[in-house]
């Protein structure tokens, strides 16, 4: 029996030192057991490496920044759809998810499927609301507060203490060791990602992450825990190992069944000295290290694509423990004309 061919558009082609998940997602899709793919890259900038990886990406289109609004994005996606007939879009950036969620119904009308969290899930798990989220679902989270004015840092400094985490609404996190640093980071983040900025209690411990997939009905379709082995100065895992930790998997199951999570996710956990897990952050999308999950037997991108098409993939129950991913960088040689073409025409 021949396998179906799906046309899947993927964002996050910025496989740079703080990588977007797109290239890893595409590798998962290309290795899918149940279908073949044509991959359409969606890029925001002309130097996203994925644009030039012609063995992975069939054609890439430039799309407008989320700041341009959902209508502008829709217009561009419909244009792309008119040329490529998309079956599925897998958005991979936090900052763009909101716009894609807004467009989910409209895109479905054009035959384009996605599998995204609901607005409620998206908002509840937001860094800004994490404290409330923890209380509601009985999951330990570090104390945190969202502030809109740097003068407020002072007010909360006693309770949260230094060092303190200063986090942007969408991206960026810094450790501040005193109030001056906290203010500097506040201003830096506010200028880039807007308000509010989140102040969070710093938890000492070891970082663990789980990537997984929820089917929107409370079932875990995939879940792989990983311990970061090496962390870059940007806080990204450059190497990690799959581990067998019942507690982490339990927490993941609790999270998925309590929230009826729909779509891919990454849980960032901190295990404190006394063995307690704190949920630091919930990323409402597939993480950049997802290829580890694929490598240990859980093809999350494939399962997500099937869910998007309304199918019911079998939940993955096992994975290989003790496998490492080790990231490396790779220099491509690209002709100037390719860069020029993409810059001027927005297509390559």
């Amino acid at each position: 029996m021949s396998r179906p061919i799906y046309t899947i558009a993927v964002t996050g082609l910025n496989a740079i030192d703080s990588p977007g998940p797109g290239v890893a997602v595409i590798r998962g899709l290309r290795e899918a057991a149940s279908f073949d793919v044509r991959i359409i890259g969606l890029a925001y900038e002309s130097l996203e490496p994925g644009i030039y990886m012609h063995d992975l990406v069939d054609i890439t289109y430039l799309i407008p920044y989320p700041t341009a609004g959902a209508d502008a994005l829709l217009e561009r996606l419909l244009y792309i759809n008119s040329h490529e007939k998309l079956d599925i879009i897998i958005p991979n950036f936090d900052a763009e998810l909101y716009s894609f969620m807004k467009l989910e119904a409209k895109l479905r009308d054009s035959g384009i499927h996605m599998f995204l969290p609901t607005f409620q899930q998206f908002e509840e798990r937001h860094k800004v609301n994490l404290s409330t989220f923890g209380k509601k679902y009985g999951i330990d989270v570090p104390e945190g507060i969202a502030v809109s004015d740097s003068s407020e840092i002072h007010k909360h400094a006693d309770k949260l203490d230094f060092p303190m985490m200063i986090k942007g609404k969408w991206y960026d996190a810094y450790v501040a060791y005193n109030i001056e640093q906290a203010r500097t980071y506040f201003n830096k983040i506010a200028a880039k990602w807007g308000l509010p900025v989140i102040l969070q209690k710093f938890v000492h411990g070891t970082e663990y992450n789980v990537t997984g997939l929820g089917d929107g009905e409370g079932n875990v379709i995939a879940a792989v825990p990983m311990r970061k082995q090496f962390i870059t100065d940007k806080g990204k895992a450059w190497a990690g190992i799959s581990i067998d930790d019942k507690k982490l998997l339990e927490l993941t199951t609790r999270f998925v069944s309590a929230t009826k999570w729909r779509g891919g996710f990454e849980l960032e956990m901190m295990k404190s000295g006394d063995g307690k897990y704190f949920l630091m952050e919930i990323n409402p999308r597939i993480p950049a290290w997802v290829y580890l999950a694929v490598g240990v037997g859980q093809n999350i991108p494939e399962a997500l694509a099937l869910l998007a098409l309304g199918q019911k993939p079998e939940p993955y129950k096992t994975f290989d423990v003790g496998k490492l991913f080790i990231r490396y960088s790779w220099d491509m040689i690209v002709d100037r004309s390719e860069f020029e073409n993409f810059s001027v025409k927005g297509e390559l």
């Binding site: 900038e45 430039l62 920044y65 609004g69 900052a95 502030v147 810059s343």
Partner: protein, 454 residues
Amino acid sequence: MEKKHYERPHIVRLDAGMPGKSGLRSELPPTTHIDGVAVAELIEKYGSPLFVLSEKTIRNTYQKAYKAFSTRYPKVQFAWSYKTNYLSAVCNIFHQEGSWAEVVSGFEYEKAIASGVDPKKIIFNGPAKTREELVLATENGSLIHIDHLDELYMLVEVAESTSQKPRVAIRVNMDTGIYPMWDRFGFNYENGQAWDALNKIMHSGKLELMGLHTHIGTFIMSANAYAVAASKLAELARSLQQKFNHQLKYIDLGGGFASKNTLKGSYLPGSDTNPTFNEYAEAISSALINSHFTPGELPLLILETGRALIDESGYILSTVIANKRMSGGRRATIIDAGVNLLFTSFWYQHQVTVAQGTSQYREDTSLYGPLCMNIDCIRESINLPLLNVNDHVVIHKTGAYNLTQWMQFIHLRPNVVLIDEKGEVHIVREKEKLTDVSGSELIPEHLVKINQNS
């Protein structure tokens, strides 16, 4: 041979990470017409800059808001917040649609009366009402919203001498999870001030307690804050019922709904992220319907929505005066509308489009107004087509607060026109003349002549 359309020569470096021009292909299309009327014609006829209001958009927006609430809650009443835009033409559109008036000063009160609003349908808010104003409002049977204890005591005194019993509500402030908390107006809920004031009113026997009022802030991006506010007011109403067997006629949740503008510093555009009327209505109605009120007891829900009802109906048309280059190489464009007309540019990132067709080339520009003040900046950074001198631009969503907070500073204020539903254009406020400004000045005898010897 016909000469070709001219566009300034333009070159821009592609910096790493900078989007190519197709990334900007989705830039907003030019706004050549408003409600079918050509922008160029409007400027030619009525001058530049020019304020334009769309009656169609005002009515549509009002009807959308009213429907959002009336389909979810049995008794809804909007009261037009005069301070948001008190041009008589605008107020009267809202009154024709069924709005009451919400005023915060003797001046606004007079204006509403002069427009023929039934005094019983005027809500008198604000922290600074005079005794004379309180007497007048009491005799007229208007709804007086008490802001502080001094006003409460004054009103009890006033009640001694008036023929009518003052019809009152108190303004309550509270924690709804919104920062900053507006706690300088009214009586606080959490610390018991509000309950204390209600007791004083009930015990005085001199005032007719009609309702409860709150205005939790402005541009509130969370619909849930209103659910919290509605629940807290419902709680107070329940206490009144239990202790005094007193039924309130209304709960007034004030204004504060976000318009579709984008706040400075926000990453996504407001038109995507700000709650819709339906979302606000859902939060408020659910909170009230799920409170202790039995269906028959549900109080009238009053809303004093301002900016969300009018922002989108307003445009400022403006003309390019000059293109400059700043010392660091940045492009700057000067237009003839500045912060003197567009007060809201201090906190909104107003959308600006051009009024004529353009090529696909864009440049990053700072957009400045015509004042010789550093603060006169409409947009610090905006991607615009290559504008020539005398080209027109359209500034969007300017309907709220600008026509009340604009200032006659350096320049006289321009015409304001309203495009009616048939596309007819009416001047609703004439452009100012020198005598409008200097006409009310008086010059002491010895200063009349500037040449002392003659």
